[in-house]
Subunit: 291 residues, 2 copies
């Protein structure tokens, strides 16, 4: 299996976390923190990727400096903001010539709400991106394969990523279910606080459990690392005919796993724009067999 | 002894060197380079400081990528540029009320020519700083102590730093010798290529050996690390009544050594401006007993 870790992510995480300690930290604490950060960034086991490493760094910061950013209010804000957009977006999806295609376009653009990758997430940019959803290109071959898979599938799992955008995930599921009413759909959210990623609490705020069965994955990583998630979540994924995976973190932690995963995300960093030969804030639909 | 190493320098060197490899480096080489860079930045023995660490990093780059910046032309350029300023500066020094004080002011400002610390060294800024030399403040107590030491001293050593500014070092020595004709003066330059630091070749270009005895220190560090330099250079330093040390690198590697060293440098990074409670491009005269 190809490595999920790379020098680009090492540099990016260093840039973000090298001085991420309180001003009151002593010189001895700073040097200890840097040494432990270096250890984390070098002692990476095969298969591990950015979400696993970020989680170790955040744990180090919590342990050494009791430093922890609470995203509760931010998550409530973005969930509410997106709930306010739900009606017009669903009207646009429903009236489109191909509602599933349009729902996918919104889902890709909505993946902007990512406090893990972006340093400035704001409502204006989000609204601008949503207004451009209908122009979001989709790989036609992969889209056709997804439609064929959905036609023959008995069950599907959607792996959510960030808060707020789960409103769009809900609209995608609603659209898919209206076209494939017999398809059984499960949603897997994070099992605990992972920056601004959606948890069961967020799923409840946007009414996702009224539509499908939602479970936490048993971990608080900003991704889905199969060796670490609960048996229930892993079984669901391994038995799914089709998996839709949202966001860069899920892509980074799942790529090369061999499951029938369709990845949907917005490219938000150099590594992704280079890898997919595209520009910042362009959405990608791909499948694990092509990555 | 206090540590010569600190978290600020770790961060600065990482910022400068983390991606300092050729574009053609493979992913495996990049990860190996980063790991070895981390090792260098954590395996630091007591007493070691930035010049020693930088030298290890440059050696790593040379070894892995055959990457080496040749400063020969840059050094010739700045030596020549400063030789062209020699006459008007020496005239200004000679006509000053206190020539040694004025010579020290020039020497501090000239320490700008530092490719190790600054990312953009240019002639315009150098000329601007030299034109401000007469306004450069000097710690009066330390200046008085230096004058008293020179009065009673039998021998003095000057440790040079960068190319170009050694013309000013020469003028300082000439000025001191005119006031203290019996004082024996030695100059120690780097023993080999250390970025743009002055070596024997540069000393010859500016005519320093016509005035005083000049020796190389036997190493190619951007500083003076006592355990590493030649016995001849170390003996000279240990037997000197007064030592004048130029530049940040010499300060970083010699501080706390206990010799009677007067440090002269221009503050060119945050660590120095914070430590000496001053602003960028301000000169400092201090002594090892006060650092």
């Amino acid at each position: 299996m190809k490595s999920r870790w790379n020098s680009h992510c090492t540099q990016c995480l260093l840039k973000k976390h090298l001085t991420n300690y309180p001003d009151t930290a002593t010189e001895e604490e700073r040097l200890t923190y840097i040494r432990r950060l270096f250890s984390i960034l070098t002692d990476i086991a095969p298969g591990e990727s950015s979400p696993v490493i970020v989680n170790r760094i955040l744990t180090l910061q919590k342990e050494m400096f009791d430093q922890f950013v609470d995203y509760t209010d931010i998550k409530k804000h973005f969930n509410q903001l997106m709930l306010e957009q739900e009606d017009w977006i669903y009207a646009d999806i429903s009236s489109a010539a191909d509602p599933i295609r349009r729902a996918l376009q919104y889902v890709m653009k909505g993946n902007y709400i990512d406090f893990g990758v972006l340093s400035d997430v704001n409502s204006e940019k989000l609204m601008e991106l949503l207004s451009q959803a209908k122009d979001q290109t989709i790989d036609e071959q992969i889209f056709d394969e997804l439609m064929q898979d959905l036609t023959s599938a008995k069950n599907m799992v959607l792996l959510t990523d960030n808060c707020g955008e789960i409103v769009l995930d809900k609209l995608l599921i609603r659209t898919i279910k209206s076209q494939f009413p017999d398809l059984q759909v499960h949603v897997i959210v994070r099992g605990g606080h992972a920056l601004n990623d959606a948890t069961m609490e967020d799923a409840c705020q946007v009414g996702l459990p009224d539509l499908v069965k939602v479970i936490g994955n048993g971990t608080c990583l900003q991704g889905t690392y199969l060796p670490d998630i609960s048996k229930e979540a892993r079984d669901l994924l391994e038995q799914a005919d089709v998996i839709l995976s949202k966001g860069q973190g899920n892509f980074e932690s799942l790529q090369y796993c061999g499951l029938n995963i369709y990845y949907l995300f917005l490219c938000k960093c150099d590594l992704f724009t280079k890898r997919f030969h595209t520009h910042l804030y362009n959405g990608i639909l791909t499948n694990d067999r092509y990555v």
